[in-house]
């Protein structure tokens, strides 16, 4: 192949990439794509269905007056529409996703393959139980793993996500108090200021009242304040505490906290969002907790899917186990797996049913596939590598950023914005990471640290990937310390620049509506 150097444009004619406008609106590999409603028509369809036969209707006149008018796309158009949109998303499969508290680990494709076996994906929740023995056995097997890993005697499988698991745990606490005749008097739930927002929201959903506890200088529960909150105990329902906590630290006094709460007549709810740091190394059951949800979509690798589906099985101590929700699976003496669906017999003390059917089976299949792949030995290594990776990041960045607390962390490294120059904020650092090809860390959470930056690498990142990330963040942190104002405009290289969230909230546009002057424009 020859090279025609003569025909190349001279250097002075080359414009910077950002300034090039295209007629199509596409930019190289990034294709322009409008809304479905701008490209489809109501008469287009991407499915071939037989025509109705014209049988006599038995709808009894309860018929739709106005058609939906929703546009359709042919199959090739639909494929391109969604693939083009997909290219505007960051994803774990593309790069490092250090979102603290979210445990964005690799999602094995074997899990996806197994979940699609018709024996799991194509069975109905109300089929005769004799025809779904494998499904019930799977739920029982997963329950055994969860109980063994947490050292807890019982588990409720039906909660649909982490926050739903919290609801499950707090409803069990409520039911236990009702059974003691103290349902109306014990309403106060202690929640650390550093807690996930779901904790106080959940407690209130269950009719409890929140009493916040401060963190101490070490980022843990302030024990003096806890003791002062427990001077009066007859209204105490319990405590909701995340461990390891949202500062990425193990609660040093956790057994003491459990003892104090139990002595006060309350129960200990542990938010298990950060279980990845201790799986296989510490059993929550040995710490004195009464209930804990487990996010299968964090620790056990089921995909986050852009915001769900999750799954939040909730383990219980002996004290709360009788109040767990229906349904649950038991194995009869003859080996038959049976669903207990009503609050009677063995489930007579159950607080009831939280949800239709039996939980997130699709997630159960993926989580068990993951557990079997890792085994007991591998899961212990998961926790250790996750914690090692986080400490490596903390060690590499502590000279240019400000660690929120002294000492080693667990699965996530937390920094404050103390190192930044005036006018440069956490969000500027986060958005600059986008230009470097990374998803930002969790920002402004937990609330107890100013301008918090929470970085959780998980165990599925290589050392080389962590080094590249730390090099990039070191450079950004230095610019932030020097007050580099160009950070305020980041990101520059993403599909869009910063979005106007105030405008979105002030006059919400929550669905597409046809332009009012469409007819004129068409002329």
């Amino acid at each position: 192949m020859s090279t025609e150097t003569k025909s190349r444009p001279v250097e002075s004619e080359v414009a910077p990439a950002q300034e090039i406008e295209t007629v199509s609106g596409s930019r190289g590999l990034l294709q322009h794509e409008g809304l479905l409603f701008e490209i489809g028509t109501p008469e287009t369809t991407g499915v071939d269905l037989p025509a109705p036969r014209g049988l006599k209707s038995r709808l009894g006149g309860v018929t739709r007056a106005v058609q939906t008018g929703l546009p359709g796309l042919s199959e090739p158009q639909a494929v391109r529409h969604y693939i083009r949109l997909s290219q505007r998303n960051y994803a774990i499969d593309l790069g490092f996703f250090p979102l603290g508290s979210c445990t964005m680990k690799h999602n094995p494709r074997l899990n996806e393959k197994i979940a699609r076996l018709p024996g799991f994906s194509d069975i109905h929740p109300l089929q005769p139980q004799a025809t779904v023995q494998g499904a019930l056995e799977l739920i029982d097997e997963l329950a055994t793993w969860l109980k063994t890993l947490t050292g807890m005697p019982a588990v409720a499988m039906s909660p649909k996500a982490g926050a739903h698991g919290e609801l499950c745990g707090m409803l069990a606490i409520r039911q236990a108090l009702v059974a003691r005749g103290e349902g109306e008097t014990r309403k106060r739930v202690l929640v650390p200021v550093s807690a996930h927002g779901t904790n106080p929201a959940t407690a209130v959903q269950c009719g409890f009242v929140i009493d916040e506890i401060k963190a101490d200088a070490r980022g843990r529960v302030d024990m003096d304040e806890l003791r002062s909150k427990l001077q009066h105990t007859d209204d105490i329902a319990g405590i909701m505490l995340t461990n390891p906590n949202t500062c990425g630290l193990f609660e040093t006094d956790i057994k003491n906290i459990a003892d104090l709460i139990h002595a006060a007549g309350g129960y200990f709810y542990c938010d298990g969002a950060n279980f990845n740091a201790i799986v296989g190394r510490v059993r929550p059951g040995d710490l004195g907790i009464d209930a804990m949800h487990i996010n299968l979509h964090k620790t056990f690798s089921t995909p986050h899917g852009g915001g769900g589906p999750g799954s939040g099985p909730t383990v219980f101590s002996e004290a709360l186990a009788p109040y767990a929700p229906v349904p649950f699976v038991i194995k009869d003496e003859d080996g038959f797996y049976r669903l207990v669906e009503q609050t009677e017999g063995v489930a007579r003390d159950s607080f009831g049913r939280m949800v239709a059917f039996h939980g997130q089976m699709g997630m159960f299949v993926r989580a068990l596939t993951y557990m079997l792949s890792h085994g007991a030995d591998g899961l212990k290594q998961v926790a250790e590598d996750a914690v090692l990776n986080a400490n490596y990041i903390q060690a590499r960045l502590k000279s240019v950023m400000t660690p929120a607390f002294d000492g080693f962390c667990m699965h996530e490294a937390l920094f404050s914005d103390a190192f930044t120059a005036d006018g440069i904020e956490t969000i500027d650092i986060a958005k600059a990471l986008i230009d470097e090809g990374y998803h930002p860390m969790t920002m402004y959470f937990p609330l107890v640290v100013h301008g918090a930056m929470l970085i959780e690498p998980t165990e599925t990142e290589s050392k080389a990937e962590l080094d590249r990330f730390c090099d990039a963040l070191t450079s950004i942190a230095r610019r932030a310390a020097q007050g580099d104002q160009t950070l305020k405009g980041a990101p520059y290289l993403a599909p869009l620049r910063r979005l106007d969230e105030t405008r979105a909230a002030r006059k919400p546009v929550l669905k597409w509506t046809p332009p009012v002057n469409a007819g004129i424009a068409a002329d």
């Binding site: 809304l35 287009t44 499915v47 269905l49 709808l59 939906t68 359709g72 199959e75 969604y82 693939i83 949109l85 774990i92 499969d93 996703f97 690799h106 074997l110 996806e112 393959k113 024996g119 194509d122 069975i123 089929q127 025809t131 023995q133 926050a163 739903h164 927002g197 929201a201 407690a203 959903q205 269950c206 009719g207 193990f250 040093t252 986050h304 915001g307 769900g308 589906p309 669906e341 009831g352 049913r353 239709a356 039996h358 939980g359 089976m361 699709g362 792949s373 030995d377 212990k380 590499r396 080693f408 986008i434 930002p440 599925t460 290589s462 050392k463 869009l496 620049r497 979005l499 929550l510």
Partner: protein, 447 residues
């Protein structure tokens, strides 16, 4: 261990950088009595793909899949055909392995599909605004009830006798935990209209379902009128979203909130989950809605874009004052819904709904012709209930032996009642004339 990139040399180098002797140093805050130095006993060690796949395949083989023969089970989850394209789209890494779109500059793919989803759900339900999904229909129903109590500042929730009992149970649980009173009207195949008489000046909302758990269609317009006269809201519930292609949607019946199950479009049966809850409301109620909302805005260059909005309703901002504790919802199931709905289009959905209705009409006609069988549902879409001359549990067991999964016995959903001889059966576009013939032949033998 194929999911772990670090090797021992990496680990040693990293410990040296950190200044730790071993990973044990990181666990010093764990009380000694709770430290596990060896792996947890009683669980197997790691295994390769082949071994894991073998184990899981054995479990899967012990289940009878809906596609393996004549299948008529509904009652809240429905066997439909999902185009191959839908599963391809939701397996795209960029959708499957991303997070809730908190960073809109690099999440426009998810956000735009959510905006399209909200628009589709609003159009299907004929409501003003829809959110970005709930866990499922039952939790959407429960959230609708507590939202109605917030909006009206009243404490009484009235459920019809035809609301799916799982939905009723989930709603009762959440409402009673919040100190609300729940009144459940007597179980009735055709009793949604009774809500109009039950509503009073203390009522926050009445909750009716069409098609209801027995398949019965009801125009709730009169119920809405009675509710509004008393200052209460109508929550209109559905479990079969395909019905909305043909039957009167919540918005046309003056509902204030629509809550339902979206599984039938884009999502498989999956033994009950994950599914996708649909939630829509009148525009003036938007700031009391639970869950995520995606809204349109512009970026710094003036280009159109989408963001999560009105988050001052939500737990991560409002904490104990939030409208709901929901965080992770059903993002990927909502994408499956949207992709399937996009392939169908309005015309395709109507066609699909007609095929469903005709399959159910054909089934009802054939079963109703059998001596001793009585079709009990007066108006239906793709599901109805019928009385058999023998105990329903025994009938279904015998049908199963004949290779036909004949439906759900009403007594499984309403134990202790007087419905021991009632079967709820559904037919969809997947139901063939041969399936129906097999059902009729088997049932004829039994009764």
């Amino acid at each position: 261990m194929r999911y772990l990139p670090l090797n021992d040399a990496d680990r040693r180098a990293m410990l040296a950088t950190i200044g730790a002797a071993s990973t044990d140093d990181f666990y010093v805050d764990v009380p000694p009595s709770a430290q596990l130095k060896t792996k947890i006993a009683g669980l197997p060690d790691h295994q390769g793909e082949l071994a894991v796949e073998r184990h899981m395949t054995k479990l899967a083989a012990k289940n009878r899949s809906a596609s393996s023969g004549p299948f008529f089970v509904g009652a809240g989850a429905y066997k439909h055909h999902v185009p191959a394209t839908v599963d391809m789209i939701i397996q795209r890494s960029e959708f499957l392995t991303t997070y809730t779109p908190y960073q809109p500059e690099i999440a426009q793919g998810t956000l735009q599909t959510l905006f399209e989803f909200q628009t589709q759900v609003a159009a299907l339900t004929a409501m003003d605004v829809a959110n970005a999904s709930m866990y499922d229909g039952s939790t959407a129903c429960a959230e609708a009830a507590v939202m109605a109590a917030r909006v009206t500042k009243r404490t009484k929730i009235i459920l019809s006798g035809g609301v799916h009992p799982h939905y009723a149970a989930a709603t009762r649980l959440l409402c009673e935990a919040q100190g609300l009173t729940v009144v459940q009207l007597p179980v009735a195949i055709d009793g949604e209209g009774e809500l109009a008489k039950a509503v009073d000046a203390e009522t926050a909302c009445v909750i009716g379902q069409s098609p209801n758990v027995f398949g019965t269609l009801t125009d709730l317009t009169g119920v809405a009128k009675s509710a509004h006269e008393k200052g209460a809201l109508l929550v209109s519930v559905f479990t079969e979203v395909v019905s909305l292609g043909l039957v009167t949607p919540p918005g046309e019946m003056d509902a204030d909130i629509a809550a339902g199950e979206g599984q039938s479009i884009g999502n498989g049966l999956n033994f009950g989950g994950p599914y996708v809850g649909l939630f829509a409301a009148r525009e003036k109620l938007v700031r009391q809605m639970p869950g995520r909302l995606c809204g349109q805005t512009v970026d710094a260059d003036g280009k159109r874009g989408f963001v999560l909005t009105l988050s001052t309703r939500e737990q991560h901002i409002r904490r104990d004052k939030a409208t709901s504790n929901i965080c992770t919802n059903s993002g990927l199931c909502a994408l499956a819904f949207t992709a399937h709905m996009t392939l169908l289009g309005g015309r395709g959905l109507k066609n699909l709904a007609e095929l469903n209705h005709e399959a159910a009409c054909e089934l009802a006609h054939a079963l109703g012709a059998l001596k001793g069988v009585e079709i009990l549902t007066p108006r239906f879409f793709n599901e109805f209930c019928f009385r058999t001359p023998v105990d329903a549990e025994a009938v279904l067991a015998m049908l199963d032996e004949a290779g036909v999964v004949g439906g759900v016995r009403a007594s499984r959903l309403f134990p202790g009642g007087h419905m021991g001889d009632v079967i709820i059966a559904a037919a969809t576009e997947c139901t063939t004339t041969d399936d129906i013939a097999a059902y009729v032949a088997a049932l004829k033998e039994i009764i």
